[in-house]
Symmetry: C2
Subunit: 407 residues, 2 copies
């Protein structure tokens, strides 16, 4: 059994996205003057929701204020969230994902998508359980498993060689199931690479999960921000046993609504029921007034989401040009979402030193690849939901620093 | 080791406060007409934040909107919360509690006080650890211990016979420590009874915790709503080892700000550090825009809190009159907070039936005592932060129903 000390030993957040400000406070040695590149600060660790980049969905704040004005009816909902809001969401999510959503017993509103991930994990993973986890994938997935005392079974994502597919190593996934893994936790689109599972991959996941009776928790946070030429296949609309799948979404970076801290999980009632029981002791109930903001979700003004996709695609393509013309930078074109995951194989300094140097010498904040997977020791994650011009200039500075310190 | 099924077996929320609406949907058998008492609905399971009762602190919504307008700076703070807001809070909390608060490493903002409780518990309680828990106490305390695989060591609260003290059985607390309990989780003022620990009790808790090297997590959610004649003794300002105490507060029912879902924990940096690491995987970060509402906390307009105390005292005294003149109702005068915990020893039906009958025949929602402690099989919990007249009439209906079904 894991002792409390062991439990926290592996839960480090020192290099986690968003925590850089605490790290920066510790840096005291001055850089040589020639090392510093001028340029406005760009924080690629998360999306930019300020006026010069991507503002929240119109009317989000209006809906929040309307929620406050509803008083207790909005402050004190069911733990799983307001019944009226769930009813509204169920129809929209069913239409988007192509499979029915039960508003009453198949849907829960949570404190951020992070809240949904934790509740889903803790509702399906017991101590000593084996859990299949993609490498690389969202930084918290591995940590949730470890905190719960489970055992990570890695499933390699060969994202650079995926071709039309994401590049999931399905043989490794089956090996994990054969070895006893009862849960597969996966983001699709993948965070950090932006790759999207093909129809074949989704079909194979469903088939394997059914064969081994495993639960699949799929984090679809970026599935709305889908670029032209891509098709998104919803696992919940596949042949997978509906009693063994949980789908996590939420209005977040795509809609620039992260600050309201909202997430939604839908799927098997037996798992949603557990999630609500756990939410009761973890954060009591779905975020009170914030829930009202969900009324704007999947109900944006005509053309708004398309414009958002177009704008993100333009930034994506600009950054891809910067990195792919630099030479020696390995990067795959994201099919969805706002993450880019360039790899710098020729880097001749430790990754954390490179990340620190980017912050101090180039005014650029990025997340080290090791936060998203143990193999990514030469990669960095960039959220490109940023001011376009500033992001392009910052990417140029990243390349300059890299070139100075490449073999 | 607890399996995942065992873990959830004891996490029932069927009768938990706020979940009555889900329960009500299941009631189908009609009551005899003579059984029903006319009267407007009163939901004593939580405070009433509507216009006819207790509205949120003035300017709370303004601060929230200002937070939204700050954009990313408010949406994406440190996981433990905005440094600027923590700096502001640290001074106010130090002044209120009488002991220093370290803004940088001794303070964390959480998703509700429930979030603070869970993170504090999970940061100090390991599997198979013994934890001293007061009976009765806040409903989640016991469940958090059980979910973490710990073992509850009950500490009786003889609230009806406490005299000047709350009535904590200090002998039982020492027995728990002797038996190996490493953590004591306690609410003061107590929820549900409203009793406040005396100077002697706080001194004894500190002494025992120091003697046995135990961590004390004290939930002081209602410590601001203190009635005349009462003195509140802050454990963190006692002789307790500062490295072994966590204090939980938050703007909630006292300030009618529950809907913003905010909590704050302060204390030992080693524990706050763990709480932040855990928050990263549980809800990622302190509630984004909502954090801004903390700027109004302990900074209410002159006289506002005093008026709020006076208004609550008036309701408290009215309800006490209803129950104490009824005969056969055992109730202690709360020294703080907005909970009343009357006991109906002569009740001749099971408690859940009585609670269900109150809902269906009297339009009154209350929380069964068994949610707050296994011994409270004849008690109900009322949050009296309500419209005064409606609350008094509802209390009258409770007594009427009780009399019909008393031995």
């Amino acid at each position: 059994m894991h002792s409390i000390d062991q439990r926290f030993q592996r839960l480090a957040t020192t290099y986690a996205p968003g925590q850089e400000v605490r790290l920066a406070a510790g840096a005291t040695v001055a850089l040589p003057a020639g090392e510093v590149l001028a340029g406005e600060p760009v924080d690629f660790s998360h999306g930019n929701v300020d006026v010069d980049a991507f503002m929240p969905t119109p009317s989000a704040l209006d809906e929040f204020i309307a929620g406050v004005n509803r008083g207790g009816a909005q402050a004190y909902t069911d733990y799983r969230g307001s019944a009226a809001i769930r009813a509204r969401l169920a129809g929209r999510l069913a239409a988007f994902t192509g499979a029915a959503v039960a508003a009453d017993d198949g849907l829960i509103i949570t404190a951020g998508t992070q809240g949904a991930l934790f509740l889903a994990g803790a509702s399906s993973i017991g101590a000593d359980d084996k859990v299949a986890i993609v490498d690389p994938d969202y930084f918290a997935n591995r940590k949730i498993v470890e905190f719960l005392g489970g055992q990570v079974m890695p499933v390699r994502l060969d994202y650079l060689d995926g071709g039309e597919a994401a590049g999931l190593d399905l043989g490794q996934l089956e090996d994990a199931f054969k070895a006893g893994a009862k849960v597969f936790l996966v983001s699709n689109p993948n965070n950090p690479t932006g790759v999207v599972c093909s129809a074949g991959e989704i079909g194979a996941i469903a088939e394997l999960a059914n064969k081994y009776g495993a639960i699949v928790i799929v984090d679809q946070l970026y599935s709305r921000l889908l670029y032209p030429g891509q098709t998104y296949h919803h696992l919940r609309a596949s042949t997978i046993d509906a009693d063994n799948v949980l789908t996590i979404m939420g209005p977040s970076k795509t809609e620039s609504l992260s600050g309201y801290r909202l997430g939604v999980a839908s799927g098997a009632p037996r798992l949603v029921d557990r999630m609500e029981k756990l939410q009761a002791i973890v954060s009591l109930r779905a975020p009170g007034y914030s829930q009202a903001v969900l009324n704007t979700w999947f109900a944006e003004p005509a053309g708004w989401m398309q414009r958002r996709i177009d704008e993100h695609r333009a930034i994506r393509d600009d950054l891809l040009t910067v990195f792919s013309t630099a030479g020696d930078v390995a990067v795959r074109t994201p099919g969805a979402g706002s993450y880019l995951f360039p790899g710098f194989d020729g880097l001749k300094m430790p990754l954390h030193d490179f990340v620190g140097l980017l912050r101090r010498a180039a005014n650029v904040t990025v997340t080290p690849g090791t936060e998203v997977g143990p193999r990514s020791v030469r990669s960095i994650r960039l959220n490109f939901s940023q001011n376009r011009e500033a992001a392009v200039r910052a990417a140029g500075r990243i390349v300059t620093i890299f070139k100075r310190h490449a073999v």
